[in-house]
Structure formats: C-alpha cells, structure tokens
C-alpha cells in the first residue's frame, strides 16, 4: 500500500528535507537560493519540499502552492526545477525507505508505491503550472489587443491611431471599432492612421483600412493615411490598389498640418520679444 510510503514521507520529513536540499545543491548548483534550509514553516513557499508536502497531505490552504507556482511563472524558478526537484524527492524517499526497511522483500513494492505517490504530485504540479501559464498568456493577449489600436486625441478635433505590428482579422475589427468609437467620443473631425509600424500592407490590410476610412467618412469625419514607407508605397501600387480617393501624407507631421488645414487652423511661430508672428 502507498500508505506505508506516505507514512515514511511524513515521519521522516526532516531527514528527507535535508537530504533533498543537499542533493539539489549538487544537481543544480546554479540555483543557490534553494539550498538554504528553511527552519521557518511560515516561509514555506520558498521551499519546494514544503510544496510537495502541501500536495501530499491535501492541505486545504494552498496559498503556498500558489505562491510557488507564481514564482515559476515569473521565471524566478526555472521550469526544469520542477522535474528535477521531484525526481530528487523520489530518490531521497527511496533511500530513506531502503535505510529503514528491514525486510528487503518489501523494497521493490515500496519503490513502486513511491512512484505512485510522486506521480500524481508531478501531474498536479504540471497541471497547475500550465493552467496559471495559460491564464497569464490569455490575459496578456487581451491586454495587448486592447493596446493594439489606440486612438489618441492629440489636438482639439484631431486624433491619431498609430498602428504597430501585424494586422490580422481580429485586430482589423478592433481598428474599425476603436476608430468609430473614438471619433464619436473625442468629436474628432480628422483622424490620422499612422502605418509606419505595420510591416506588411497586403490586400487584406489595405481593404480593412479602406473600409475603416469609409466608415469614418460616413459618420462625418475624415481619415488621412500617414507613414507609408517608400517600399510599402511601391507594393501598394504593384497590387493595383488605388489610394487616390484616399487622402495620404508621407509623415505624421505632414498629416497633422493637413488636419489643421481641414479644421481651419495652422501652426504659427511666435517670435519672442517683439511679439510679431
């Protein structure tokens, strides 16, 4: 019965812990942090073995485990530390059993049971780790998406949408939504779409930009496309995409000048001293 093994693990906790620390220092000398023995149990999340015990004893309060997993997520603890730590743990337990068990007949069975005890811990740990990982990635993904098409009001009635990176269908949808919402929220009469940071403008990207600007036009505002790099201008021409119905300017600066003109304003230099324009 694995019960015997669990009893060993519980009874010999101190011995196992110490042996584990020693072995880990040999296995992973590059991580000295984990060598320091923990006398203080409240500090348990610093100690992998304590985490194992938490799993093993089905302790209700799993905060220690969560903290530990958070550390792995933050890559304070390398992921291979998990598997090495557990393998060492199993080996240490087997050694303790070997030393204590009087009847060698039982040894083989006890080894097998040790495996059966350690395996679910390993699986659970991997499961918890990947779940946290997946959650983190999905949160980051949605945060990134939110940031991926910002509409920034820069001057009264003028907004800019700087686009950086690849535009896929999901993002194209967001560009459209943010553009329209932003035009309404900020009362923008002119929006400048800056594509300096878009690596490839293919027919799909062009199509989405054309559609977005069309939609902006329908709500009574104007779109100006800026930041078309020379090589992008070339490929757009090669693709046979007509941008003549579409106001474009080479740079954001030129675009802003144009936007000011449309909103009947301009930038002037005030010379200090004589107050002349």
């Amino acid at each position: 019965m694995p019960k015997v093994v669990i009893k060993y693990i519980k009874d010999k906790r101190k011995e196992i812990n110490e042996a584990w620390m020693r072995k880990m220092a040999e296995e992973l000398p590059e991580f000295p942090n984990y060598r320091a023995p923990n006398q203080n149990l409240s500090n348990a999340n610093d100690n992998f073995v304590d985490v194992i015990y938490t799993y093993l004893l089905n302790i209700e309060n799993t905060d220690d485990v969560r903290d530990f997993i958070k550390k792995i997520m933050k890559l304070e603890v390398p992921i291979n530390y998990l598997s090495i730590g557990l393998q060492v743990f199993r080996r240490v337990v087997m050694e303790v059993i070997k030393r204590s068990e009087k009847d060698p007949e039982n040894l083989l069975e006890l080894y097998e049971h040790t495996d059966r005890v350690v395996e679910p811990i390993f699986n659970q740990l991997i499961k918890d780790t990947t779940e946290t990982w997946e959650r983190t990635i999905s949160i980051q993904k949605s945060e990134l998406l939110e940031l991926s098409a910002p509409l920034i009001p820069i001057l009264d009635r003028i907004s800019v949408m700087p686009l950086v990176g690849t535009i896929d269908t999901e993002r194209a949808k967001l560009i459209m939504e943010n553009l329209l919402q932003g035009v309404i929220d900020h009362h923008a009469e002119v929006v400048l779409i800056d594509i300096t940071g878009v690596p490839v403008v293919d027919t799909m990207v062009a199509h989405h930009i054309i559609q977005a600007s069309e939609a902006v036009r329908l709500v009574g505002s104007k779109c100006i496309l800026v930041g078309i790099r020379p090589e992008i201008a070339q490929t757009i021409v090669n693709l046979g995409i007509e941008l003549d119905q579409f106001p474009t300017k080479s740079s954001l600066q030129r675009g802003i000048e144009e936007a000011l003109k449309i909103t009947e304003r301009k930038v002037i230099t005030i010379t200090e001293g004589n107050g002349k324009q």
Binding site: P199, D202, T203, H207, E231, T235, N238
Partner: protein
C-alpha cells in the same frame, strides 16, 4: 536549375501566414534583395498564404533560393489541395473576388514578382509558382 536550401511553412491558420512571410523576409534579406524587393516578396507570400487559408483551409508555402543560368532568384511555391480554380483568366482579373475582398491578390502577385505560373484543377487543388530575380 540548381536548388539550394528549401524551407516550407504549412498554412493552417492566420498565424502561419505571418510565419511564412517572416521566413520570406529573412531569406530575401540574406540573399541580398533590396528593401523594395523584400517588401514585394513578403507581400506576395502574404497574398498566396492568405488565399490558401481562405479558400483551401490548408496548404503549404515553400521558399527556396534558385540559380538559373547564373542568375539568382527566389522561388515561392504555394500548394493546396483545396477546391481549385475553375476559370484562371477570371481570377487573374483585377477586382475579381468571391470573398468580398479587393480581388487584387493574384493579379498583384503577378505584378510583384517576375515569373508567375498558376496550375489548378477543380476539386484537386492549386499550385502557384512565383519567382523574383536578384538584380
């Protein structure tokens, strides 16, 4: 033609399209193509890969440097086992689309590249080869 290293990218989702063109960008840069031609090659790959994704679901983009009579070039092959194209002349016309797009992809690739060959059989799939010579 002498073939050098050849790289393939399976196209199964939108992300693979980005992968294929990044590879195209890298190889064309290494071969010494200028900025404009790099952009042309990358865009052509993007069009072909997206057509695979949209119309055939799955397929493959192969990118390989080639040498022909001392002339170096980059060859892009697009292969799929999708529905095929019934009227090739029609799809090569600017503005023809069955998906509400611009219909500029295929005629665009032809103009972006130096050589363009399309071979398609209904219900069997589509093979497209496009080459850009290094000048």
């Amino acid at each position: 033609m002498i073939m050098e290293t050849r790289s393939s990218v399976p196209i199964n989702n939108e992300w693979d399209i980005v992968q294929a063109r990044q590879l195209g960008r890298q190889i064309s840069r290494e071969m010494g193509f200028g900025h404009v031609d790099q952009a042309r090659i990358t865009t052509a790959i993007s069009e072909l890969a997206r057509n695979i994704y949209l119309y055939a679901n799955n397929g493959e983009i192969t990118i390989e440097p080639i040498v022909n009579l001392g002339k170096k070039g980059l060859k892009i092959t697009s292969r799929d086992k999708g529905p095929g194209i019934k009227d090739i002349r029609l799809v090569m016309q600017d503005g023809y689309t069955t998906s509400g797009g611009l219909g500029a992809g295929l005629p665009g690739v032809k103009r972006l590249m130096d050589i363009f060959k399309i071979d398609s059989t209904l219900e069997k799939g589509t093979n497209i080869v496009a080459i850009k010579w290094l000048r």
